[in-house]
């Protein structure tokens, strides 16, 4: 279980909190989506959970491991994180990248078992054919799947991803979500993913957490969160929700004139 224990954080000492006393438990085996407007603190929360950021107050405990205090290598066997900034600063092949996922286990000397994990991860994301290609020769969707194969190869119970669908077209975005879904269903991983699109979250996640101004303001199954009144709390705009084939669909591209402070959401 990921146990977020009253975490607060501000980027400047006097500035507004990015995380404001967040308390959240995420149980094993599910796909949890973090949604919310820009600046709500989703990525910061993910960074705090994955010890990329040490919060001012509070702590995060994952399966009994205090992520900020435990040795990096121990944490690296409990959780894997993929941030949105995967700027390429080195020329690596897909398979070399995925092999680095075994680093917390083997420290660079890969065993036969490690190679099998690498092959299985590549197969899981459908990149086995492209294993010897350089990352900079791939499309955005392929590259994202290669990075996901690496975090899967870490064989951590928890996999955290920060906006993995950024800059992906519809087809690639859906294929990435399918990879994450099957990682939870077939490989038993607990997936926590920051998403921009509430409909993506509703379609693929078991659990949706809505954040606003550094706080968790909504939590529940997709049908419980994808409601006009709940979305108003999260996004501050009036979003009509319809039901298609039994699933809720938020028409966020057609917000009704709402009470958004900046006047955004006026219907033209």
């Amino acid at each position: 279980m990921i146990h977020v224990d009253h975490v607060s954080h501000a980027y400047t000492p006097s500035g507004p909190p990015v995380l404001d006393d967040v308390a959240l438990d995420i149980t094993r085996g599910a796909v949890t989506a973090l949604v919310g407007p820009n600046g709500a603190g989703k990525s910061t929360l993910l960074a705090a959970v994955s010890r990329l950021l040490g919060p001012d107050h509070g702590r995060v405990v994952v399966d009994g491991v205090d992520v900020a205090r435990a040795p990096d290598r121990e944490v690296a066997r409990v959780l894997a994180v993929l941030r949105q900034d995967t700027r390429l600063s080195a020329r690596l092949t897909v398979v070399d990248l995925v092999r680095f996922g075994r680093f917390p286990h083997s420290g660079g000397r890969l065993t036969t078992a490690d190679h099998e994990v690498v092959a299985a991860s590549l197969a899981h994301v459908g990149m086995a054919d492209l294993r010897d290609r350089y990352l900079d020769e791939l499309s955005g969707g392929q590259r994202q799947r290669a990075f996901i194969a690496m975090v899967l190869a870490q064989e951590t119970p928890y996999v955290l991803l920060d906006e993995p669908l950024n800059n992906l077209d519809m087809e690639h975005a859906a294929s990435v979500m399918r990879v994450l879904r099957t990682a939870a269903d077939d490989l038993g991983r607990t997936v926590v993913v920051v998403l921009h699109d509430v409909n993506m979250a509703a379609a693929w996640a078991d659990d949706v957490v809505g954040m606003r101004d550094g706080r968790v303001v909504a939590r529940g199954r997709p049908a419980e969160v994808l409601r006009t009144d709940v979305l108003r709390e999260v996004f501050g705009i009036e979003i009509p929700v319809v039901t298609v084939d039994g699933s809720p669909v938020a028409l966020h591209w057609l917000p009704r004139a709402g009470r958004h402070p900046m006047g955004v959401g006026q219907r033209y």
Binding site: D72, R73, A76, T93, D96, F100
Partner: protein, 303 residues
């Protein structure tokens, strides 16, 4: 080995006369070894530096490391005129470590992550250190001495002079052990943290490896421009940035390149010599231009 003022035909290398053997033992073998070690060291130093800064246009000669080593030697010479080579080397290594650490610190403050901007910052930084060195040397009338270290040449690499270079082998071994970690750090801080690799520790190790290699070479033979820049980049084009795989290739390629430059330098104006740094500078500048233009046109294609 066969090329030099005293003619020794290639055939005689296998069965030299006593006189020829003396030349070979005192001058030719040390020279070749010095060339191979220095070429490999500066190239590997460049490779490591590029990984720990995540920037392929950074190298010891363009980021203050070499300039600081020269400054260190100068300071050592001024303070202890009779300082041995070893003392100078220690001081040079120390100043290199400080200057390179300073460069890494400086990078944290640079908001532009554009590789060319970072490279320019490095060149300016090196320029400032170089200017201080020249000023001090000018004040003390030691400018000529400065030339010796800032212009690499193997003409003084003889028995009893070149041995400190073997230090780079030990440091190179450390670098090889850390090769995978350098690759991981080269992918960024968050990438490294995720894999449980301490970004800071690895960067510190890299810093020391780079500084010791560069400073040792500067003390013994002097600076050779472009080497640390072009050799790792050309190898990277062919083999990627997996340091564990490319480090031995970079070392060999660097050694080979400097050997070629030295032979050219000795043959062009026979029986006189052109310093190896001049030859490497001319050849290296051409390769570097090609690399930069290649990157620039690649960017346009993407944009």
């Amino acid at each position: 080995m066969a090329v030099g003022v005293v003619r020794i035909p290639v055939a005689d290398l296998l069965s030299p006369t006593a006189e020829q053997w003396e030349v070979i033992r005192v001058s030719r073998i040390p020279r070749v070894l010095a060339i191979l070690l220095a070429g490999a060291a500066l190239s590997v130093a460049g490779l490591v530096m590029q990984r720990i800064t995540q920037n392929s246009f950074v190298s010891p000669t363009t980021a203050g490391t070499v300039e600081a080593a020269v400054l260190g030697i100068l300071v050592a010479t001024l303070l202890v005129p009779a300082a041995s080579l070893l003392v100078k080397m220690v001081v040079a290594i120390a100043t290199s470590v400080v200057a390179t650490a300073g460069f890494l610190r400086l990078l944290r403050g640079v908001r532009h992550r554009d590789p060319v901007v970072v490279a320019l910052v490095g060149i300016m930084y090196g320029g400032v250190i170089g200017a201080v060195t020249v000023f001090v040397a000018y004040q003390r009338d030691l400018l000529q001495l400065l030339d010796f270290w800032s212009t690499g040449s193997f003409s003084a690499a003889t028995e009893g002079q070149y041995e400190p270079l073997f230090l780079v082998l030990a440091v190179g071994a450390v670098g090889y052990v850390y090769a995978d970690r350098f690759t991981v750090v080269g992918m960024g801080q968050e990438f490294a943290t995720n894999l449980g690799v301490s970004y800071r520790t690895v960067r510190s190790v890299g810093l020391v490896v780079v500084s010791v290699m560069a400073a040792t070479v500067v003390v013994v033979v002097g600076a050779i421009p472009f080497l640390g820049l072009i050799v790792p980049n050309v190898v990277s084009l062919a083999l990627g940035d997996h340091v564990g795989r490319t480090l031995p290739v970079v070392a060999l390629a660097g050694a080979g390149f400097v050997l070629a430059c030295d032979v050219v330098g000795r043959v062009v104006r026979f029986p006189y010599e052109i310093p190896v740094s001049t030859v490497a500078g001319v050849l290296g500048a051409g390769v570097f231009l090609w690399l930069v233009l290649r990157t620039a046109s690649g960017k346009e294609a993407h944009g």
